[in-house]
Every structure is written in C-alpha cells, then in structure tokens.
C-alpha cells in the first residue's frame, strides 16, 4: 500500500471538529476529583487559544451514571440532555463540547437514536416542553473536549514552555494513552482514529515531543464501567482490569499515563493506591506510582501552568517525578496550601506507595 492510499484511508478516520464558539458541558467526576482540570481547559481555550466558550452554571449532570446502572430510564436521560441542548440553543450556540466521555457517549447515542427514530425525538420535545417550556435545536457539531485539544495541539506546541522530553537525558518521555471506552468503541466514526486507531491522545503526546508506548493491553478497559464498580461484590473484577493494564505497561517504564475519560483518570490514579495496600505492589520507579494526568492537565503543564494551581496535589499518585523529568519548577512547600497560602492539610501517607513530601 502506498502512502497516498494510507492517507486516503486515514481520512476516513477523521471527524469534523468546529473551529470556535463552543458550548461547554462539565463532567460530574472530573470536577469532583480533578477540580483544576476543567478550569485549566477553560483558561487555555479562552486565554491561550482565544476561543469563545460558554460555561453555563445551569448545566446539570447528564445522568449517565444513573442511566448506565439502570436507575434512570432512557426517556428521562433524553429529556435531561434535551434541556442541555435547549440551554445551548438559548445561548445562541451550535457546537456542543462535553468534558466527560460518558456524556459524549450519551449525547452521541441519543442523537443517533433520534436520527433513526424521529418519533422518539418528538416525544422528548413534548416532555421537555411540558417540564420546562423549553425548545431546542440539535447541535450542529458534537466534539469531546479532548477532540478540541487535539485540533489545536500544534498551536499549543507553538506556545509551549515545556516539552514532553526528559531534560536530564534529552530523550522523549514515554506516555501511555488511555482512551475512554465510550469515546469511540460504541460509535467508531465519532472518534478521531475510530475504535481501532484512536489518535486523540497519542496525537497530543507526539505533538508535544513525547513518545507513545504500544503495550499489549493498550485498548483494555480500565474497569470503571458503572455496573462493575457500583456494586461492592463486583469491585474485585473492576480493579483486576486496571491491574492487568498496569502489569502490561510496567515493563515499558512509562513516565506518565494520560486519559481523556474522567472515570479512567480517577480509577487509574486511585487504584494504584488500592493495589499497593492490598498486594504491596507499586508500578512506578523508586516506589512511586505512574503519574496519571487528564489531557487538560497535560496541556496545562506543557503550557507552563503552576502544577499546584491546576490541582495536581489532588492526585493520589505523586506527579513530582514527572515534573522533575520535564524540568518544571514547583514549590514543595506550596503543595498543600490554598491560593491564600493557608494550609489545607496533607493526606495520610500510604503504607507502600511513595508520596513526595510526605
């Protein structure tokens, strides 16, 4: 196959992403566990890339967690999502950009359902009108926020202060890209690279000077799936999925993991602590874990944001080894202080997992 042919095929794996004027939909999990992450995204979009993004405080959960665990019926989640579309329409926007992979999957699934069953869309329009007296237009463009960062990855690279390169050795840092299942495994045409070759995160790593690890369990689920972890009896299965991935990636000595799904980032970060306490195993170097970042946090680090300003102290796995490799200066004393310089209290030190400054 010649290059032209490959490029032609690769074109089939692209998706349309709007240039500007985005309606932002926050994520329940991301803003709870990584509160600096969404702030960093909005700041990058507005102040670094000069884009117009609306962050409407009236926006609510999409109820995806409830839907996937059989608590919220399909008609209810569709009406909630219809209300999100109504808020977008009222604000005068047409491009929906959810921060959560679950929400992205939900929006995609609902739009696809309405496409094939217009009668359901009509019913939902009726429900929304009865409940809120609102009407809506469907988004013209639906893109996950990691798609947006991917679209502007080269602009970010131009403005970057740090590269994904080890400043001590000059070698590219080795990153693991972990893509949420609901990004493109359900609707392959809606993700960059489809389900087979998702490039949305590896594209960022390459653009910013790093290298991507292609390990055996690269496309394995992190185990977050709501049904798997919500019931305590199933959590052993849930953590086993992450363990399988960590064991598979460890021999390649990754410097960091980047995820676009808030649940994956949270699980891969916290499970490293759980596994260390249960089995005494750690997966990073010198007793540390493998730092797990959201793509917003990775973008912010590359652009020179202060690690504590974007909330990296909220991570279970210490990010200091990565900051040292990238040559990013940080104040260890400021790690557990708020913006006013007051002490917010340090977490309890784990038994086996090494935490910097504890």
């Amino acid at each position: 196959m010649n290059l032209e042919g490959k490029q032609q095929i690769w074109n089939d794996y692209q998706k349309e992403i709007a240039d500007d004027h985005y309606f932002y939909a926050r994520s329940c999990i991301r803003q709870t566990f990584f509160p600096g992450s969404e702030w960093a995204y909005l700041d990058i979009m507005k102040n670094k890339l000069g884009k117009d993004v609306v962050d409407d405080p009236r926006h609510t959960t999409c109820t995806g967690i409830g839907y996937h665990s059989d608590i919220v019926p399909a008609e209810t989640i569709m009406t909630v999502v219809a209300r999100h579309f109504a808020l977008m329409t009222e604000a005068g926007y047409e491009n929906m950009t959810p921060s959560c992979i679950t929400s992205f999957g939900i929006y995609t699934e609902i739009l696809e359902t309405w496409e094939h069953h217009p009668e359901i869309e009509e019913k939902i329009r009726e429900y929304l009108w009865k409940a809120t007296k609102r009407e809506f237009n469907k988004p013209k463009n639906l893109a996950h926020t990691s798609d947006i960062i991917y679209k502007f990855r080269n602009e970010i690279a131009t403005q970057s202060k740090y590269k994904l390169v080890n400043v001590h050795t000059g070698r590219p840092l080795r990153g693991v890209d972990h893509i949420g299942c609901h990004y493109s495994k359900m609707f392959p045409t809606k993700g960059i690279g489809g389900a087979e070759f998702p490039a949305v995160l590896s594209g960022l790593i390459y653009a910013w000077g790093g290298d991507v690890i292609d390990y055996p369990e690269r496309r394995h689920c992190c185990g977050f799936g709501f049904r798997q972890y919500l019931v305590m009896a199933n959590r052993g299965y849930s953590v086993a999925n992450s363990k399988k991935k960590f064991e598979s990636m460890q021999p390649y000595q990754p410097d960091f993991i980047v995820a676009n799904c808030p649940g994956c980032a949270m699980f891969m970060d916290k499970w490293q602590y759980t596994i260390s306490e249960m089995e005494g195993t750690t997966y990073g170097q010198d007793g540390y874990g493998i730092p797990v970042l959201t793509y917003e946090e990775l973008s912010a680090l590359v652009l020179g944001y202060d690690p504590w300003e974007i909330g990296l102290q909220m991570h279970q796995v210490s990010v200091e080894p990565l900051l040292d490799k990238m040559g990013i200066p940080y104040d260890p004393e400021a790690k557990y202080k708020n913006v006013r310089g007051e002490n917010i209290g340090a977490p309890k030190c784990p038994t086996y997992l090494r935490v910097a400054n504890l």
């Binding site: 305590m232 052993g236 953590v239 086993a240 596994i275 306490e277 249960m278 005494g280």
Partner: protein, 115 residues
C-alpha cells in the same frame, strides 16, 4: 497488607464449559424452571441475612451452578439458613428457596450414590 474495602482483586481464570459437570444445572432447570428467569440483579444477595453475616452470596451460587462449577457451589450452600427472604425481593419471581433446597437434594442424592 491491609484490606478494609470489603473486596479483593479478582484473579484471572478461565472457565471450561465443555469440561464442567452440568448435571446439577440440568437437574435444577428441570425441577425449578423459574431459575431460568434470573437476570443476576443481586437483589437476593442484598437482602440475604446469611450474606450479611458470612460471605454467602446467593447470586454467585446460582451463577456457579449454571456454569457447572458444582464444587464451589456446594461449599457455599451450607451457609444458607433457608429463611426465604430472597424470594420476597426477587423481581423475576424465581423460587430461590426451592432452588437452594433442590440443589441440596441433588448433592445429597449424588453423595449417596457416590458412597
């Protein structure tokens, strides 16, 4: 090593359906046809008194039985107190108490034959 979470990490394993003994599965399907209606929701386990006091898990028992993992199911069955609360919560109307009794019957009969 500590474990205060109430669960442990599941080990990787494979289930060989061809080699497993399906005699109990077939016996229960014939004597308690409603057992085939189970959707594995776990309501029975959530309401189980024995399950609150021990690691007995009725959903797991019926799953083991259906997979033909009879040995593991046998060990678990001894913990059931036959109170029948699981029947009250089952959304599919599975005769769970009868299912347990028939499983015990099957084991007893086969034990005698083996002896």
């Amino acid at each position: 090593m500590i474990n205060f979470w109430g669960y442990s990490i599941s080990e990787t394993r494979s289930i060989n359906y061809d080699k497993n003994d399906k005699a109990m599965t077939e016996y229960i399907a014939a004597t308690v046809p409603s057992s085939k209606l189970c959707i594995g929701c776990g309501g029975c386990t959530a309401g189980c008194t024995a399950g609150n006091l021990t690691d007995f898990n009725i959903r797991k028992v019926q799953m083991l039985m259906k997979r033909g993992e009879t040995k593991d199911a046998k060990e678990q069955l001894q913990k059931c107190m036959l109170c029948g609360k699981c029947m009250l919560v089952c959304p599919r109307g599975v005769e769970t108490r009868k299912m347990i009794l028939e499983m015990l019957n099957f084991i007893k009969t086969n034990q005698k034959l083996e002896d």
